[in-house]
Amino acid sequence: MSTIPLTERMHKTSTALPGQDVAWLQQVRETALLTLSEKGFPHKKHEDWKYTDIQPLLEQEFALSDSACIGLLDEDIEHLFLSLDEDCRIVFVNGRFAPQLSAFNHDKSQFEIINLAKVIDTRPDLLQPYLARYANPAEHGFNALNTASINDGLYLHVFKNVQVREPIHVLYLTTAVDGLLVCPRNLILLDNHAQATVVEHYASLSQTNMGHVSMLVDAVSETMLALGAKLEHIKIQQESKHTSHIASHTVLQQRDSHFTSLIISTGGKLVRSDIHTRLVEQGAECELNGLYIADESQHMDFHTFIEHAAPACTSRQDYRGVLDNRSRVVFNGRVYVHKDAQQSNAGQSNNTLLLSDKTEMDSKPQLEIYADDVKCSHGATVGQLDEDMLFYLRSRGLDPQTARRFLIKGFVGQVLQQMQNSLLRKRIEQWVNQRLHLDDIQQEALQ
């Protein structure tokens, strides 16, 4: 694996990419590459990157993995499963599809799930109307880099009127490989009135003792929700603190579709997560929720962008998180209401708990409203645990430490409890509580 500094990478494409004979795909890659070499990577002078300095990342050398995954077994990654008998799990190791770790026990008449590289090799026409039609490589260099390097990822197509009950687990694992670049590319298509829960999950194996290992995950996801379709999309980002993670998700929502996103970020060194939903037809609804848990010197930057492009659409946002040590988090919530998007309803809230006085939180709502009949609200709080609440718990006999932990757990629990599937919710709560060192609070009172 030969590594190249990111800044030089913009002049080269790897020859190992699938589908080099697919003209339209090559075109897509080349256009992205051109965009990248013209516009380069974002720097701090860009308003959208003001708080996030990627310069150190650009100086490092990265390359896509060219070897298939090593002998991992189910039992090595079991702790990352959503349940022990997952219906449908597609696993990628260092960016490459790992069939031996994946499981496809679902009802095949409900949906089709294939790794993207295989679709490119065998049925590229399936992709042509969608791939790179929603995400815009011009948005920023990482998006372009991903598009220029399209290789593997998720292809999911849920058929008309189907309600998929079990969560579909998309697991991206990285092992400790210095200079590893992973460019996951995900395409999620829901036909009319289809319903599904997708868990896009980023994790590392071997979190400790990795010395100076440095990795970059540059992910792009695109989603199309047709009439009345309903997607619950949960992204869990719990990579090691040696991994930088830059991702964007672009969603197109047709009439009466419903999109719920929950981004849970607990890992990574430098994390940037963009989500862009376009409500292009009447009655579409989206809820964008986020939970960030940062400590040490972690840096996380969340950008949401909701475009109300049609009348009578609703959007809600609840981003919240807990910051400790010297960590720093940015939330930029942008809502754009087009001139014709009358009766839009948009609500946004961002609440952050600071556990140390060396953390920094930058919260910025950005409302651009060009219609006159709209309901928009936003609110943000940043602060310590509430003294009155702490006192109330202590006055009932809880020691300050336990009282604090109850409050933190309660605070993060409010966003987690919005998950509909209770088994999935419990699993994710478990990870979050472990991350917050709250897993020993005895909470199984009635079980």
């Binding site: 609440m389 718990l393 006999g397 809880l398 020691d399 300050p400 109850f406 757990k409 009172a445």
Partner: protein, 247 residues
């Protein structure tokens, strides 16, 4: 059980309690009445151990120990309970988990075995029944979205579960309808015995028809200006506080 001597407390350099003397013995019920802003809740908060109050003088002995140097949670574990005038809402913290942690913290402190799930469930059901608390409230976050009356009832429910030695009820009757008032009073009376004591802070004589006090005190401008038997409450209802302040 409780002996308050010449207690002077200020908040942000403003004197609020100006020399309180009060002794409460096991088995007694005391009522404290007094005009708005006279310092009743301040007294309750100081006894509970809330931060932000400065003791300028005086002392509080609780079962022979110096109460004011104990951390709030220790006071609770030693059997002190305050039903707050304005219970705070705690989003995301489930009632049952919270109560269980509270009870077990106290039991552990007392050297008793912690309740297991079954014991605890039984106690919760029994006490919820006693104070006629809707069990659905127990599935919710602490006080979140509770009505005024539900919050008050929740305080009494917690009191019933924690079985305090000294309970201080700060205007628990305010905002309760007459049926709820009786239920709360029954709950309090069920707790009464020779080993514990209750201080009821109220503006209304009607509560004292149900929880009959041994002694009634009037707190005015940070001092107890009059103490008497139950008939004092009736007199206050009749005449207001003006005649006391004038004297």
């Amino acid at each position: 059980m409780l002996k308050i001597s010449n207690l002077k407390v200020s908040v942000e350099n403003k004197a609020i309690l100006k020399g309180i003397n009060l002794e409460v013995k096991a088995g007694e019920v005391h009522a404290i009445m007094g005009p708005n802003g006279s310092g009743k809740s301040t007294l309750a908060n100081v006894l509970a151990g809330r931060d932000g109050y400065q003791r300028d003088d005086g002392s509080v002995l609780y079962n022979g120990s110096d109460l004011l140097t104990m951390p709030a949670e220790q006071r609770a574990r030693e059997g002190l309970f305050i039903a707050f005038q304005y219970p705070v809402e705690i989003p995301g913290v489930n009632m049952v988990y919270f109560i269980k942690a509270a009870v077990n913290a106290k039991r552990k402190y007392q050297g008793l075995p912690e309740y297991d799930a079954m014991d605890f469930l039984q106690i919760v059901n029994e006490k919820a029944e006693l104070v006629k608390m809707d069990e659905k409230l127990l599935e919710r976050a602490v006080n979140e979205g509770f009505s005024g009356g539900e919050k008050k009832r929740n305080e009494i429910f917690q009191m019933a579960v924690l079985e305090p030695r000294l309970a201080i009820l700060d205007e628990t009757d305010s905002g309760l309808d007459i049926d709820a008032l009786k239920v709360v009073a029954d709950g309090v009376n069920a707790l009464r015995n020779d080993n514990n004591a209750i201080i009821v802070i109220t503006h209304y004589q009607r509560l004292l028809d149900y929880i009959v006090p041994d002694i009634v005190h009037v707190l005015s401008d940070g001092r107890i200006v009059k103490s008497g038997n139950k008939s004092l409450a009736l007199e206050l209802e009749d005449k207001g506080y003006g005649w006391l302040e004038a004297s």
